[in-house]
């Protein structure tokens, strides 16, 4: 009997230091489970996340990228997440335009108190990306020959 290997997506989560990273810590402190596919990269603020990082993740084989920051109005640096929101809205829309499934990118606001939301968000995101399967990454046709 052949056992079909379950697809395990690679998920990169960028978390701002002040809210979402602390929220992720809180979900740990509260022992709230989410899949080990999620690997978190700590950034000072959601506005530190350069679209280059997200493209790089996709380039290197990530199947989903999620960016978490403080809720609008709660940014530790007052305005960072507003800029991040515009940048990500445009970038995600562009990736969608290029045919990369929109469900592979996500922007979520998670406060330091929202450990449960963090875990729930990650569970949902991993499930969504797993359903989508491996990212096709807009590969060059010529490389497939």
């Amino acid at each position: 009997m052949q056992i079909e290997e379950k697809f395990e997506p690679t998920i990169v989560a960028f978390c701002c230091n002040w809210c979402s990273y602390a929220g992720a810590d809180l979900s740990g402190t509260n022992r709230l489970q989410y899949p080990a596919n999620v690997k978190i990269i700590r950034v000072p603020c959601s506005c530190r996340v350069n679209p280059m990082f997200i493209l790089r993740a996709f380039q290197r084989g990530a199947d989903g990228v999620i960016l978490c920051g403080c809720h609008p109005g709660d940014c530790h640096y007052t305005t960072g997440n507003y800029y991040a929101r515009r940048r990500m809205t445009l970038l995600f829309s562009m990736l969608d335009f290029l045919g990369i499934e929109r469900e592979r990118t996500r922007l979520e606001w998670v406060s330091a108190a929202e450990g449960a939301k963090f875990a729930a968000t990650m569970n949902d995101f991993v499930e969504t990306v797993t359903r989508l399967g491996k990212n096709r990454r807009l590969e060059d046709l010529r490389c497939n020959k």
Binding site: T10, V12, N17, Y21, A22, A24, D25, L26, S27, G28, T29, R31, L32, Q33, Y34, A36, K39, I40, I41, R42, V43, P44, C45, C47, R48, V49, N50, P51, M52, F53, R56, A57, R60, G61, A62, G73, C75, H76, Y77, T78, T79, G80, Y83, R87, A119
Partner: protein, 663 residues
Amino acid sequence: MQRIGVFVCWCGSNIAATVDVKAVAEALGKEPGVVFFEDYQYMCSEEGQNKIKNAIKDYALTGAVICSCSPRMHENTFRKAAAAAGINSFMVEIANIREQCSWIHKDKVSATEKAIVLGRAAIAKLHLNAPLTAGESPVVKRALVIGGGIAGIQTALDIADAGFEVDIVEKKPTIGGKMSQIDKTFPTLDCAACILTPKMVDVAQSEKIRIFAYSEVEAVKGFVGNFNVSIRKKARYVDEVKCTGCGLCTEKCPQKKVPNDFNLGLDQKRAIYIPFAQAVPKIATIDADYCTMLKTGKCGVCSKVCTAGAIDYKQKDTVLEEQYGAIVVATGFNPIELTKYDEFAYSQSPDVITSLEFERITNAAGPTGGTLLRPSDGTHPHKIVFVQCVGSREDGNGCGKTYCSKICCMYTAKHAMLTREKYPDTEVYVFYIDVRTPGKNFDEFYRRAVEEYGVHYIKGMVGKVSPENGKLMVRASDLIEGKQLLIDADLVVLAAAIEPDKSARPLATMLTASMDTNDFFTEAHPKLRPVESPTAGIFLSGCCQGPKDIPETVAQASACAAKVIGLLNKDKLTCNACVAHPDEMLCNGCSTCEKVCPYGAITYESKEFRMPDRTTRIRRVASVNPAVCQGCGACTVACPSGAMDLHGFSNRQIMAEVDAICK
């Protein structure tokens, strides 16, 4: 090439139960650049730290990766340990394998795998770390207090008492604030003026304190330790130095029909006025909107009667530039406008008043000399209805506030009690949603009002107040008795919600201090740093941060002063080391980064450069003030040429982490 040591912590069984720590250490030991690896039960313990220090020395490590709990927990501990062993404290990276790994996963295999990946990411980042040194900036040893109410007064007095210079900027002609308008204070019932005015005098007499009354902050530049503030001194048309405050002009001025804002418009003042007898500074001020001389050029009575020759109709606003190390916001509160609460007939009848107006009517220095008289006909009211929570604790869809204004329950109890004491023939009703009396001697006070003074406390809201034949018909429901009430009151007093002063919002923008949706200033931490703003060097005193009564305000004001003193006591401030820095050779000079910087840390300068082609060029390049930069990184992404990068979180470092995770 770095020489990296990897230290895997068991955290007792917190990590070791779900993550195979030995396997992690061994796997990471094979990574390029790793020359030493070790696992230990408690890396944060004295013994654990010693292991790190020894390894750094013994193996000439240039950096350390600690796989342990969240960096929010022990990053500083490990950085200090590394520094103690002689390497730069920023050559330490933490892989969070507890909160973000062992505690959230049950399967040991996948948790171990993930821990290895997280460790690899930390190693990849560390390879690109560079030693960082935090800069230093000097501190101007002087504080600015914005707002001269009891909060500002107390903060200023405490700072001055510690030996530092303080300036108070107050937009009204006198300091004193709301407390100067209040009659008695709860729960002790001592007279507000008796306890406030001595403090005002202390401020006036302090050699360390300057008062800029009738002045407003116009612009704020700079940063913690080095603020440059423009203060606009509005024209009083009276020479502050010459005026003796004798008050003769305020008696002789022929323009008598000026609404008296100190008495909330309940009576009238002259066009030249001193708000109240104990005003500080006691200097007359001309109200330019009403002064006949300033409007038509014909009058000049005050100038004729002033023996000091202090009147100066040609006086202009002046703008002062001052330097401060710290800024205290003490802008206080106001009752909300009641125009939208027409069910209470506030705009229809002069006998429907706010609680603050009630204070003025019962105040001996107020418009009625302290006798409780109806504003409409000057008669004694025999039936008074107090309505609580007017505009407070609303559902958010209405015109009111969602929060509890906190002070209304107590001052209403005070008003009810004092009325019953002075005028026992008066019936007093209080309509409430809940009576909230947490505070020392507060509940006892409220119970006295009910039990000893016979105030009728009725749980329920007033639905409508309608003026009929000189009476105010109050329709209300009694929720406990379950019946509708109709009361023919003589006076209705509304406990209006309090809100931050309107000047707070533009001030917050100037200070780049954050506010909540209700325009209260946000504290740096709601529990642990309650008197500091998230913006370094900005401190919060009194009701600008949230509704407070007088004792709380004074306590917070003193706490705020302590924080300011702590800052001013330092000769130099250590800056954030993880700041943005431009590569000048890559900078286009396009000003994009400057526009997104929330702190104004980026400026542009023209500099001469020797170019790679051996020509000399003057180029416009960005420059970051490391004392101002907080390291958010907004500029790094805004920069199209990639010239701007962030120490500690560089483009290459983050991409190295991405690569390690996606491998």
